[in-house]
């Protein structure tokens, strides 16, 4: 499966969209498909300081609890409030309306630690 271009990816199956020094974070199609029906998303608070690759919340499917690891560090500036009422947005549009949160990057060179769409494709193909 081809991954959307213009995004960067983590080994923990999150995606990042860089826009200047603000990054939008979500989980990938592969991740939502592995999780199954999502019933609850626990996001960091606005203003929270996140460490790159830190465990910052959970996604709960019908059967299981899974940790969310943020692919970038910095200050949380926005969370997707729609997920409170409709967590299944993450299943339906993981790369779109199902985004999780936005971070003001502590360090814009963090993208060097992330995977290109092609590298993430290889990771998923070998999973």
């Amino acid at each position: 499966m081809a991954q959307p271009a213009g995004l960067l990816y983590s080994k923990e199956h999150e995606w990042v969209k860089m826009d200047g020094d603000v990054a939008t974070v979500g989980i990938t199609e592969y991740a939502q498909n592995s999780l199954g029906d999502i019933v609850y998303v626990e996001l960091p608070r606005i203003g929270a300081e996140l460490q790159q690759f830190g465990n910052i919340g959970v996604i709960e499917s019908v059967k299981a609890v899974s940790d969310i690891y943020t692919p970038v560090g910095g200050e949380v500036v926005e969370v997707n409030a729609e997920l409170e009422a409709d967590p299944a947005l993450v299943n339906r549009e993981p790369f779109g309306t199902g985004w999780l949160f936005k971070v003001k990057l502590a360090d814009v060179t963090q993208n060097q630690n992330l995977l290109s769409p092609e590298k993430y494709d290889e990771l998923v193909a070998s999973a």
Binding site: S34, G36, D37, V39, Y40, E60, S61, V62, V65
Partner: protein, 367 residues
């Protein structure tokens, strides 16, 4: 390097893969946990019908004049009072009043069928062989005979064309020998979902043709393949225990709320003294139903607090789609285990309000 156990496959493994199932290890087998998704499959079973592969469960055949008396000595419920073509839920207790397994006995005209949980299959086969007596002959068909379940309100209309007996008059918890999709097998009106439905016992080499045919004919009635994920949610809503959660070697039938199945009037049976003592002991923790107020599901192992005191733990938890809330079972101290009792569930360090309720969470509408 840690060696991983070799997983077995049921006769239907290729059929599951062709349907795009997500496969997980369960009870020593590679089993479909879901196809389209747990919620969609749950909805199919509650409102139309779902088709399950349960061939990972072990089927033992019991023959001989002494089967009933022998089985009565090893189980809590009555076996000898079963009439031919009856099915009955039962539990094999240990000496301490815990449970080796919960099972169903099916009495056929010339033999008995005993179905045990996949994860307990080896333990149970060893147990019944170690205690074998009289003329009892035991045969293990685990992994050889298939078990297919069709569950949901449209089960009769979908299945009828495949069998040579009238399904509508069959009573719940009865069984019959029948020709099923052209092969001889056993059909029982039993299940683990809280819905009407049937379980079909056929030879493994006949399973794929039967599965494909029922699924093809049933699609027009809304039949969907359903995995073990949906099955677990369905059984939890229906208040049915799952071995390893509501019942274990430590948590027996009295604590699990299955006292109705423990016939203390029966003559001596394994574990009877311990079960008698437990049934008279008002201090024992009990399995109860719990409904959470909030949107975060409770999970097995979470602690439960009542009046500021830790009173026990969650044993199973999930969203209950038919309830519209997060539901759970908990093993709670008697002071907290009363209907209507307000408790809180500790989820990642934060208490969440919940209420103790009567089981089951869901009862199917009477037709």
């Amino acid at each position: 390097m840690v060696s991983e156990p070799i997983l077995r496959r049921t006769a239907l493994f290729d059929a599951h893969r062709a349907l795009g199932a997500k496969i997980v290890p369960f009870g020593g087998f590679e089993m479909p946990v879901q196809y389209a998704g747990i919620l969609a499959e749950h909805d199919a079973v509650r409102n139309r019908a779902g088709l399950f592969d349960l061939s990972h469960m072990a089927q033992f055949e019991l023959r001989g004049e002494n089967v009933a008396a022998w089985a009565d000595s090893l189980t809590v419920n009555n076996v000898a009072t079963m009439k031919p073509l009856q099915a009955r839920y039962n539990i094999f207790p240990n000496e301490h009043g815990g449970a080796h397994d919960d099972v169903i006995f099916y009495r056929l005209p010339d033999r008995w069928l005993l179905v045990v949980n996949a994860g307990n299959a080896d333990k149970m086969w060893a147990h019944i062989n170690a205690h074998r007596s009289g003329d009892v002959k035991l045969t293990n068909f685990h992994g050889v005979r298939a078990l297919i379940a069709i569950q949901g309100p449209r089960s009769v209309e979908i299945l009828q064309e495949f069998v040579d007996i009238e399904l509508a008059p069959m009573k719940y918890y009865t069984c019959a020998e029948a020709t099923i999709g052209g092969v001889r097998g056993v059909i029982a009106r039993t299940g683990y979902t809280g819905e009407d439905g049937f379980e079909l016992f056929v030879e493994g080499d006949a399973a794929t043709a039967l599965w494909d045919a029922i699924l093809a004919a049933g699609r027009a009635h809304g039949l969907e393949p359903a995995g073990l994920g949906a099955r677990d949610v369905l059984r939890l809503e229906a208040g049915m225990p799952l071995y390893g959660h509501e019942m274990t070697e430590e948590i027996g039938p009295i604590q699990a709320g299955l006292g109705w199945a423990v016939k203390l009037t029966k003559p001596a049976f394994r574990g009877k003294a311990a079960l008698e003592a437990q049934s008279a002991d008002a201090t024992l923790p009990k399995i109860v139903g719990i409904v959470l107020d909030g949107k975060i599901p409770a999970r097995a192992g979470y602690r439960v607090v009542h009046d500021g005191i830790d009173v026990g733990e969650i044993r199973s938890g999930s969203l209950g789609p038919s309830v519209g809330k997060n539901i759970a079972t908990g093993l709670l101290a008697p002071g907290a285990a009363t209907i209507g009792s307000k408790v809180s569930v500790e989820i990642r360090g934060t208490p969440h309000d919940a209420t103790v309720v009567e089981l089951p969470f869901y009862k199917r509408p009477k037709v």
